[in-house]
Subunit: 216 residues, 2 copies
């Protein structure tokens, strides 16, 4: 039997999807190695033949773990949840689990994909307006959805997968200068989560591949 290897995360410091997985790994106390994939440099290191063997979709994150390579951040987090269940990142109650996945997919399918780097490069000149439109539309809905689910965090008072999606998406909103004043619930939860160590050590400003001028 092969020796147990540490999981290997392919990550870019600024990728909001990579950040979701870094938070999950931190919360669950899973040690891992990190391989930076710079999405800008050299025309995008995700486009190399070497990386295409890791993830044919040429996106981060990807996690090499337990003998396989998984991509898609929420699939990775669900896998970690099933194989390393503590602390849980999904509520115990099926209805609340459903709501947690709804909020997570709302961000991971409804907001992030239409404002990611590749789409914005294709949009061209109007990319700021485009990103603001889709983040604003998504946050207007998210603010309403949270009225039914939120406690201290997105779903009740425990940190769940939805929170792992929320904080990186708010960081994207900040980058695109989205006015957050219409979203007091999102803002409150974001602030509460940023107090937690797992969200801090996984932060884009503190990664091995963070450029010196962006470190804090």
């Amino acid at each position: 039997m092969a020796a147990v290897e540490k999981p290997l995360l392919f990550s870019y410091f600024r990728s909001s999807c990579s950040w979701r997985v870094r938070i999950a790994l931190a919360l669950k106390g899973i040690e891992y190695d990190l391989r930076p994939v710079n999405l800008i440099q050299d025309g995008g290191q995700q486009r190399t033949d070497e990386y295409k063997h890791v993830n044919p979709m040429q996106q981060v994150p990807a996690l090499r773990i337990d003998g396989v390579t998984l991509s898609q951040s929420l699939a990775i987090i669900e896998y970690l949840e099933e194989t390393r269940p503590l602390p849980p990142l999904l509520p115990g109650d099926p209805l609340k689990r459903g709501q947690c996945r709804m909020l997570s997919d709302h961000i991971a399918s409804g907001i992030q994909p239409v404002q990611n780097l590749d789409v914005l490069q294709r949009v061209g000149d109007k990319k700021l307006e485009w990103a603001q439109h889709y983040i604003t539309r998504g946050f207007q809905a998210l603010e309403l959805l949270l009225q039914d689910t939120a406690g201290h965090y997105c779903v009740g008072d425990e940190v769940t997968m939805a929170d792992l999606c929320l904080v990186p998406q708010v960081a994207n909103a900040d980058r695109f200068h989205v006015d957050m004043t219409p979203y007091p619930t999102i803002s409150r939860i974001n602030q509460a989560l940023l107090q937690l160590e797992a969200f801090q050590i996984s932060h884009p400003s503190r990664q091995p591949d963070t450029p010196p001028e962006l470190r804090v």
Copy 2:
């Protein structure tokens, strides 16, 4: 205790995300009522105040079930899986469950959102080229991913959530005239799935809101 009500699905015949949920309901033998939401007519019935109370994101599907309303197709399917487990739509083995969710998210986050109706309306004149680009990119990767996972269907020989995503996405590819010859595995699995009754009765050509000229 309230009488058990049949689930109510808000659906549009042509929505690929609605179709995913219709297949799940059919496979699990869950009886439901259907409320059509026409995404085109009247400027889009999803934009009415009434529907915004159902789903603030103004998208289909949404499912009213067990006293709550869930949106996001994969969150709905995962909820059905946890509360109505038979027949299973996820494999039993954790690694295969991870791969199944990866393939599902690959389509539900990686392909569909960037070629959906709202995005294409915003893209304007170049919408055909845009949709073809993102479906092609996604299918190139999916064809490679399936080499590691597929048996008779996307993950082994049993129908899983990934198959519920694949068939509607291939239908979208057809609508946008994507050449499918480079994707023999996707095409083979799609053909096999279309033989199954659950995929047939849930088909866009056989819905209560299918226009007469599109019925088969």
